[in-house]
Point group: C2
Amino acid sequence: MQKKRILLGHGSGGKLSHDLIDGLFARYFDNDLLRQQSDSAVFKLGAENVAFTTDSFVVDPLFFPGGNIGKLAVAGTVNDLAVSGAIPKYLSAGFIIEEGFPLDDLEQIVKTMAEEAANAGVLIVTGDTKVVDKGKCDKLFINTSGVGELTSDRLAIGSGNKIEVGDKLIINGGIGEHGMAIMSARNDLKISTSVQSDCACLNGLISDVFSVSTSIKFMRDATRGGLGTIVSELVKNKDFGIQVDEEKLVQDEGVRGMCELLGFDPLYVANEGKVLMVVGGHDAQKVLEKMQKHPLGKKAAIIGEITQTNPGMAWLKTVIGGKRIIEMLSGQQLPRIC
Amino acid sequence: MQKKRILLGHGSGGKLSHDLIDGLFARYFDNDLLRQQSDSAVFKLGAENVAFTTDSFVVDPLFFPGGNIGKLAVAGTVNDLAVSGAIPKYLSAGFIIEEGFPLDDLEQIVKTMAEEAANAGVLIVTGDTKVVDKGKCDKLFINTSGVGELTSDRLAIGSGNKIEVGDKLIINGGIGEHGMAIMSARNDLKISTSVQSDCACLNGLISDVFSVSTSIKFMRDATRGGLGTIVSELVKNKDFGIQVDEEKLVQDEGVRGMCELLGFDPLYVANEGKVLMVVGGHDAQKVLEKMQKHPLGKKAAIIGEITQTNPGMAWLKTVIGGKRIIEMLSGQQLPRIC
């Protein structure tokens, strides 16, 4: 019998990733906190509610329009904390570097990390460096882990348990920008020059929104697997459905063009500066307006709602009036985008 | 002019590692917590003292006598927390996996991590998986980060600021076992069959010692760079010296043989289950006896002391009565041992 092996799709954030997590990691590491499978684990230390998260970054290439692996590594972990409702505070940084990697490039990446951390108001407080022989890793991988503080009113944000029929889905701008920026950097396509990664720390925008609304029911950053993966995860085994209105989805012209040309479905293309919020219907307009005042939310839009119909299903109401089920991504659409 | 590039020595834990940390990471990420350069960053969240640390593991081979990369990844981070005086509580686990890696091997490693975490009383609560194309990493890298709790009486343990002349150096057993176990696994040397890695979680042993003594002044686990690197770091810019008594250093026969044969200095060979403690002179015997009662401290020994003479220097009193300065490791003795 042939040995079962790891496929690229196991790192896609889609169905194979879930199979690996459920079948292996969750099975052996089993505990209540891990079982939440949210962006951050949330636990008590003494009287404090603490959020804790980790992410490894293997993006290829290291430098891309709109950022580099360092910016991604800080923003990714800051965002995982922020969408769990926490105030991000402290980060770690672990570097795995290929022998022969240019020190100038490393310096530029470290400088970007420092700037991004300062902008987000977090401190990088502990680190680790490993060097492997030439050919044993691809230039540079970075792990960032992060710790944040939660107030008790935000405890259930990550779980989605507060979601109710009639809640609205709001996203802070266009989809697919990060994935297509990586694609353009990788292939040097001429059409792609205008597309920039949306990579950014969202804790400021999220904090603004909390200042005007007490009915934020759920947040998640739409990274690997894109918006499509979040909504399909969110309805799994739930007694509500999700309708996403295609007409309301913002798409940069360059992203749209690249997706059409290359055959990508933008719903599944990665973002690195987009948060999907589920907000009580009565507060949706207020949240939208607050978001639109933030530099990272100018193109924010209400893109859909929580429905009583079709429980356990997410579907796209297409521009031409049809309906398409949004399934979990199977296989790997675009490897190493983060 | 030729570009400056990363060398294997930058990951050795010795002089080049320090140069990279001081000249790059500490310079850009600069903050009070990072400046402590201890095994864990220690900060307050609300009223709680929290320790936070990270480590990436790139050991080659993945399986070795006495353990595997998973055991190492859990023990390494548990120990970094424990030597800072913290009670290790929660770990993250980030996997970077090469496409094609056998699922059976991954399962064995994950199983070991779960067992080791259970033994140490910590929970793995959050994780991340990335898969890179075949040839873009060497089988499997694991990052673990960890969070622990500190009582206020243990706050200054990591800094070494409490150390005084007359304090004793105690280690919980023989040196060089992990490094030589890796070496034997790598080269399939026949002489090496008896050498096992000492890889183990030390939080239980450390907790035992704290139960009998209030004069533990400093602890560090002697990993990359070995015992020699710790003592040479510890005296840097200090007004005391350190004498290590070669006669008191325990060495497994197999380790001694391999070091002689292969030309390694055991002082700089990695351990993964050894903690060096600096303990007030009056408590040293009590601490030693307590350690010796623990399964991981049977061969514990008082191996040296803090001296008024030769401030800023660490030296080895050799078996034949000579003196040798213990300098920081320059270059790379043995890559990818952790």
